[in-house]
Structures are given as C-alpha cells and as structure tokens.
C-alpha cells in the first residue's frame, strides 16, 4: 500500500531543508590542514584524472597561502561548475583515486572538499558581498549562438562562449535551469538549492539569456535555430529512459527512479512524495543508489536494490554502494527482473538469479519473489530521438567529431547526449567548455 514520506519528515519540509550534506564542508582551519596534506606534486596525476583538467595542486596551494579566491578562480577557469562537481563528482574514482598518497601510507587528499571550500568562498563573496563575477568577456564578436538545454553541458558552453565574446541564447525544455544538477542528483549532494545558486553565479558573466519551457519540437526546431543563429550547440542530455521490457511494466507503483529523484528535488513538501513501504530499485548505477538512499532516508521500510550483475560490474562506485548499505538498503546482486506481479498495482517482482559463463551473463533458472508496492527503474537513459532528426547517431548517442561537430554543419553537441566519456556532470562541463572553444574557432572561419 502506498503511503507518504511521513515517518521521517515533519510537515511542509522541502528536500533542501530536510537533507543534510553527505560530506560536511570544511571549516577554514580544517581546509588549511587538509591543504597542508597535499604534496603539490609536479605534473600531478590528479589533474590528469580530472575530466576538466583542473590544476588541483595549484588551487590547493592557493588555499594554503590564504588566497582562497585565487583558488576558486583556478578551479572555475577550467570548470565553471566546480561547485557542483565538488559535491557530486565520484572523486573516489577520479582525482582522489589518482592522489599519490594512495601509493604510500597516507590517505588521499580530500580534493572534493577543498574544491568546495574554495568555490563556496568565492560564491559567497559574490552573492553576499556583491562581489564581481570572476571572469571577463572578450569584446563583442557580433556572433550569436543558440544552445539547446540549460544543463551542465549547455551552461558550461554558454559561459565559455560568452567569455569568448559571443552572445548566447539558451532554450530549456523545463521551467528551471541546471538540468540534472537541479533535477537528477540526490538531495543530500545538493543541499540548499545549490544548483540554482550556481546558475545565478554563472549567469553573472552576462551575454547569456535563457528561455524556459522551450522544448525542441513545436516552436523551437533545430532548423530554425540554425537559421537564426551563427551556430547551435545541442546539450539535451538523455531525455528518455530504458524499459525493463516486461509485461505489466505500466502498473501503478512502477516508475522511473529519475522521476522519483526529480519529485524529491522539486517538492516544497516532502510529505507529498509518494513512497512505498517495500521499495525495489532496479539498476546498478549512481542514479539507482541516489534513489535507494533517498527512499530509505525518507522513511521507506524495506528498500532493496537489485542488480543483474555483480558488484564489480556496477556503474556506481564502491563508495556509493557502501553508502547504500550503511543507510540500510539491501543490495541483491546477480538478480535479473523477469516478471511483474500484481493487478493494476504492482505487488511483487520476480527475479531470476544470474551468473557469468564464459563472460556472458546467463540466467540460472532459479527465481525468487520480492514483495513490493513501489518499483523504481534506474536501468539507464537514452536520447529522445524524435526532435533531433537529421543528426546522425551512433550506439544510441549523437555522433560528433573530436571538435564536437555533429553531422550537420554549424551544429555542435556535447554532454550526456554524446559519447565523450562517463555520463557525469564533470564530463558534460568539459564537453561544453571544449565545444565552445571549438565553435569559436569554427566561427572565425565561417
């Protein structure tokens, strides 16, 4: 029986108020102490492990010398969403995994927390003390670029293109900017409406306008944007989700995990969030973990995360899987959903146990049922193809050159909708930045 998130939540509380930071931010003294732990490596491996190539040893050295605004500038000059990445990046498999301390007797430097310390400092200077935006625009180029999607890729593109002197119009399908930063990350990673604050900060450079509720399709089309602008950047992300392919998948109680997370992030009253008592999350990526942990934190009684392969094959990092277990999520591995049970409303899911044989995943024939009144699907997302007609795709994503050019002249793309790297905010920011630099060069010749 479906109930609401009542056990753990008082009346009229939003996610921004209810969820605490997963990693508590560092105070000034702790930040300097942690910065002191950094060896200031030469040609540091952490820089190479960062998809945006932030000069990590330099920004940490700047924190150590008390030049915290300078540290933030070092971060943001490579990654304008350094604030979100400091919160949401799986640092344990990126910069912090590359920290040379891992090779010795020490623990890795808390690069994510230090990055947050620096970026929060600068953003506070700007928002509280009305400080200037840290980047300057080049002289007006007279060129005007359209961006589709106000997510990390689109906004990163817009900021860099604006820095390079171009005017940018962003068309966003939803009514708020930020994309997955605003809608798709767990609330405990983005407390206090950080995604919105970051967009305000980013827009401070000027030269960028955002039009909301303008999805590609009826009024906004690729073709008319291309006609009206000097270039177009597509940063639409992955708007569609994968299906289980089972009969009864449309029963009440079965929904996409990404929608569940969006509801939590957007509600002004967590009590209104529909929450089952026995919840199954299907999938092995970070979205599955985000959904499962939030379901548990909101008061879900039994939360099971079911994944068809083993822990090593999970998309989620070991840290994230531990986080789920620590929060009381039961993790079922080698379990593939094979049937939905119920009439109109889901009552149980049937799983078949799996194994690897010769590198191939096969069912063992043994099945078991888990009673449930809510199923959250987190088995991957895909591009919404219909409105991107004319653009060539490859393996389910937009095909782009190394300069982020799509198959159509003057249309560029980046972020989750292309295959540039992992589907992470930090990769989307890198795509946006690099694509803007590529478009700038392209515009000089066109």
């Amino acid at each position: 029986m479906t109930h609401h998130a009542s056990k753990a939540v008082c009346a009229n509380v939003s996610a921004a108020q209810f969820f605490d930071d997963l990693h508590m931010p560092l105070g000034g003294l702790m930040a300097v102490k942690e910065a002191d732990h950094c060896l200031y490596c030469y040609d540091a491996p952490c820089i190479q492990a960062c998809p945006t190539s932030i000069d990590i040893p330099t920004f940490i050295h700047q924190i150590r010398t008390g030049n915290v605004s300078g540290a933030a500038h070092t971060i943001l000059s490579e990654n304008i969403m350094g604030g979100t990445c400091a919160r949401a990046c799986p640092t344990e498999v990126l910069c912090e995994q590359a920290c040379v301390h891992n090779g010795g007797e020490n623990k890795a430097v808390e690069i994510g927390l230090l990055q947050r310390y620096a970026t929060d400092h600068l953003m506070d200077q700007i928002s509280i003390k009305d400080g200037p935006h840290p980047f300057m625009r080049a002289p007006d180029s007279g060129r005007h670029i359209a961006v589709i999607g106000a997510g990390p890729a689109g906004l990163s593109f817009a900021h860099r293109a604006s820095m390079l002197g171009h005017k940018v119009s962003v068309y966003e399908a939803k009514s708020k900017p930020g994309g997955l930063n605003e809608y798709g990350l767990a609330a405990y990673k983005m407390v206090r409406d950080f995604a919105a604050e970051e967009v305000t900060f980013l827009m401070g450079i000027g030269g960028i306008e955002i039009f909301y509720d303008k999805a590609l399709g009826s009024t906004v089309t690729l073709e008319n944007l291309r006609t009206k602008h000097d270039a177009v950047f597509v940063g639409v992300g992955l708007g569609d989700t994968n299906d289980l392919g089972l009969n009864g998948e449309d029963m009440a109680g079965i929904t996409d995990a990404i929608d569940f997370i969006e509801d939590i992030r957007q509600t002004s009253d967590l009590l209104a969030i529909k929450l089952g008592q026995d919840i199954i999350v299907i999938g092995g990526g970070n979205t599955a973990i985000d959904a499962a942990v939030q379901a548990k934190k909101l008061g879900g009684q039994n939360v099971t995360l079911a994944y068809r392969r083993g822990e090593e094959q999970m998309g989620a990092t070991a840290f994230e899987v531990d986080l789920a277990r620590q929060n009381g999520v039961m993790v079922h591995l080698w379990s593939k959903p094979v049937a939905v049970q119920g009439e109109g409303t889901v009552r149980a899911m049937t799983f078949e146990q799996t194994m690897l044989k010769g590198g191939k995943l096969i069912g063992t024939g043994e099945t078991y049922d888990i009673t449930c009144d809510m199923v959250l699907k987190a088995i991957g997302q895909k591009i919404e193809g219909a409105d991107l007609r004319g653009l060539v795709t490859e393996d389910g994503k937009l095909k782009v050159s190394e300069n982020y050019e799509t198959s159509l002249n003057g249309i560029f793309a980046g972020g989750d909708c292309v295959r540039s790297g992992e589907d992470l905010t930090v990769q989307a920011v890198q795509d946006g930045k690099q694509a803007a630099i590529a478009v700038d060069v392209w515009l000089q010749n066109n």
Partner: protein
C-alpha cells in the same frame, strides 16, 4: 636510566633543563610551578636598578606556519617591571623552599661600574647560585645604553664582566647577543673578563611580520611597531652554529656554555650537548605549551642516552665538536649520489622538478604507457647536493649513497686546482 645531572660553572643541577630569563621566570609563582614540573633551574627574569621599567601593551608577534604552527616568536618586552626588592625577597623564598634547584640572577645596567657592582652585590645577597649578565636584549633596553648595545662591543663585555666578577664571589655567566658578526669576539671578551660561563644566544633582531591592514610591523602598538627579539625553533640553527664556534675555538677553551635558542624537545637538547653545551636554557617552548614539556625533555633525553649507552651527560657532551670543522678541512674527494627506492616512491615528482628547475637536471621523469610515473637519478649529473632527499615526502625513499672511489682525503688547500695551493 641515564644520569641527567650536570655541572656548569661549578654549579650542580639535577638536570640540564633550565628556564631562560624571560616572562616564564618573572616571579615566585611561575618559578615554583616550573620547579614542581621538574625544571632543574631558572634564570630569573632580568633585574635592573629601581625604578623598574614600564612594559608596553602588545608585546609578542609570531611567525606562523600555514597550519598555525609557531615557527618563531618575537617580543618587545623589557626587563622585570617589578621593584628590585620584591624580586629579591621572592628569590630568597624560592631558594629556601627548593634547595636542590638552581636560581641564577640575571641583571643589566648602564655602562657604569658602580651601577653594575651595587646591583650584582644585592642580587648575590638573595642567595642565587650565580649571576647572568644580560648583554643581549636587542630592543628597548639597548636604546637606553644597556643589553645588546653593550653586548655588541667586546671591550664593554669584558669590562662589565670584570666589574661583576670583582664584586661577587659566585659564578658569572655572560649572556651573548647573536646580533654581531663573530660570536667568538664576545665569548673571548667574556672569558677575559673572568666569566665562568657564557649563555647564548639571546634573541635575534627581527621584524616578525607586517600587518597589511594596519601597514605596520607586528606586534602593533597603537598603529606602530618596532623591531623585537626573535626566538623559538627558527633560531635553533643560528644558536647551534654559535655554540659550536665557541666549543671548538682554542681561544675560548675552559669557559662553560649554557646553550639557548629554539630548544623545544630532547633531540634539540641532545644536539646542543653534542656540540659542547654544559647546560641548556629554554623559553619559547614553555611559552607555547607550558612547563609540562620538560617531562618529555627529561624522558626523551634519558631514553636516547640509554639507547646509545651514555650513562652521564658528560659521556656524549661535545662528541660532535671534533667533527665540526672549517670548510677548508672537508674532503673534496667525497662523492655521494642520490638513490631512489622505486618501491617506496609514490611518484609525486617533487624531486624531479626541484632538481630540474633549481639544481643539476639529474632526475629524469618518464611516464609509462600504463601511466606509471618513474623518476630516475642520472649518476653522471648528480652532484650529491641532497636537495631531492630533503624534500622527498617519503622517509628513506631517497637515500644519499657515498660512492666508493678509493681516493684519498683531499682538502681544498691541498687541491691541485687551488690557484693558491702551489704558491
């Protein structure tokens, strides 16, 4: 357990750890707390003629590391600002209550025979074991013709030392300032004047930092600052050098050394003793952590001596003096090369960039296909400077290995390339 008793200027002490003349030894209550904590002796805060001086508000500044660790302190405090008689009565009382502990009376006066002799006699009458002449204070008092203004003139050091030696029959320690060009001139003058011991170093002249908001040196007194005396672990290398110079000079043999300067722990203490110190004085470390730090100084020194088989302080006192020589006596044929333990290396690259940018380009940097970074010493280019070994964050990862070359001990004066050698 090793015997930590020591004797300096004929005065016996239960251990070599004394508190130097400074705020911690300002009055009865502090000194009693110090003795309760285990300190072997104190040099009472410097006494002058009445009326007592008046001290400033805002007295100390600090040189801080990034993590707020104190590298050094400076101060602009003057000598005791309490009446002479109050100090002397308190000294008498502590002497009675703590008969096994040493009290040295520190004093200063203007360059006037009567002033020095009368003050010395009064202090000696309080029962102190010895008198220390403060000829080192580099701020405030020197502007009144006292402290370092005397200590920077060897003739005046000899004169004041002689006056006090003539006036009293207890041991005299002459405290030297490091703010000179050659410490030996001051030590020789003290010896000539009759001092049984020298105490060194007093504080180093310094501006410790500038307040960039007030645009004034710190410590800031109503918007202005003055130079002060620098002390703490930062000055230890300066003090070690000056102690060693006196210990190894033929001209200053026979004078005892009370070593002062950045002694924070037993290891510092052992280093000063190995360079010839007879006893030690501590101030800054106590000001940072309280009198309790003497516990580890005692236990640590004792454990060190037990491990090395030294039964008494004298067993290792001065052992490093014979190995402290002029540059001209070093072996030009000695050759040492860096060796990087690849197993221990964590690939930070600090050795490479330090050598590449600032030394001899003798450490190569390669990245293998799998991303593994490796750093290798080029023996032909390595001059054995030690820089890489010093900055490497992993203990014992970079070892300096002497090269076996079977060449004889060869000094620069004997070196065939010395243009002055064949003259």
């Amino acid at each position: 357990m090793a015997d930590l008793r020591c004797t300096i200027a004929g005065i016996e002490s239960i251990n070599p750890f004394w508190l130097a003349s400074a705020p911690p030894t300002d009055k009865y209550s502090n000194v009693v707390r110090a003795f309760e904590a285990g300190w072997g002796g104190v040099v009472w805060k410097t006494l002058g003629e009445d009326p007592p001086v008046i001290n400033m508000s805002s007295r100390y500044g600090a040189h801080l590391g990034s993590n707020r660790s104190v590298i050094g302190i400076n101060n602009i405090e003057l000598i005791s600002d309490r009446p002479l008689d109050v100090n002397l009565r308190e000294i008498e009382q502590v002497r009675q209550e703590w008969p096994d502990r040493v009290i040295i009376g520190s004093m200063m006066a203007q360059i006037d025979e009567r002033a020095w002799k009368e003050l010395a006699i009064k202090i000696a009458a309080s029962g102190v074991h010895g008198i220390e002449l403060n000829l080192g204070c580099p701020h405030g008092m020197c502007e009144r013709g006292m402290g370092s203004s005397i200590g920077q003139v060897p003739e005046m050091i000899e004169q004041t030392t002689r006056w006090v030696c003539e006036a009293v029959d207890i041991p005299v320690f002459t405290k030297l300032t490091p703010n000179i060009t050659n410490i030996l001139w001051g030590a020789e003058a003290a010896k000539a004047g009759g001092a049984q011991a020298v105490s060194l170093i007093n504080t180093v002249n310094s501006v410790i930092s500038v307040d960039l908001d007030a645009m004034a040196p710190t410590p800031t007194v109503d918007g202005k600052g003055s130079h002060g005396g620098y002390c703490g672990s930062a000055v230890k290398p300066i003090a070690l050098h000056m102690v060693a110079e006196i210990a190894r000079s033929p001209e200053t043999q026979g004078i005892d050394i009370s070593a002062i300067g950045g002694i924070e722990n037993w290891r510092d203490a052992a280093e000063f003793i190995s360079l010839g110190a007879d006893a030690l004085q501590v101030c800054t470390a106590a000001m940072l952590y309280g009198f309790r730090i003497v516990d580890d100084m005692i236990a640590g020194l004792s454990n060190f001596m037990d491990e090395k088989g030294y039964k008494t302080i004298d067993d290792f006192r001065g052992l490093a003096v014979k190995n402290t020589v002029d540059w001209n006596e070093l072996n030009m044929n000695f050759d040492t090369k860096a060796f990087i333990d690849q197993e221990a290396c964590i690939e930070c690259g600090r050795c490479h960039i330090a050598c590449e940018d600032t030394s001899h380009q003798a450490i190569t940097f390669d990245v293998a296909k799998d991303g593994q970074r490796s750093f290798t010493v080029v023996d032909e280019d390595c001059v054995g400077c030690n820089l890489c070994a010093l900055i490497c964050p992993v203990p014992d990862c970079i070892e300096m290995r002497p090269v076996k070359n079977d060449l004889p001990y060869l000094t620069w004066p004997e070196h065939p390339k010395n243009p002055l050698g064949e003259m």
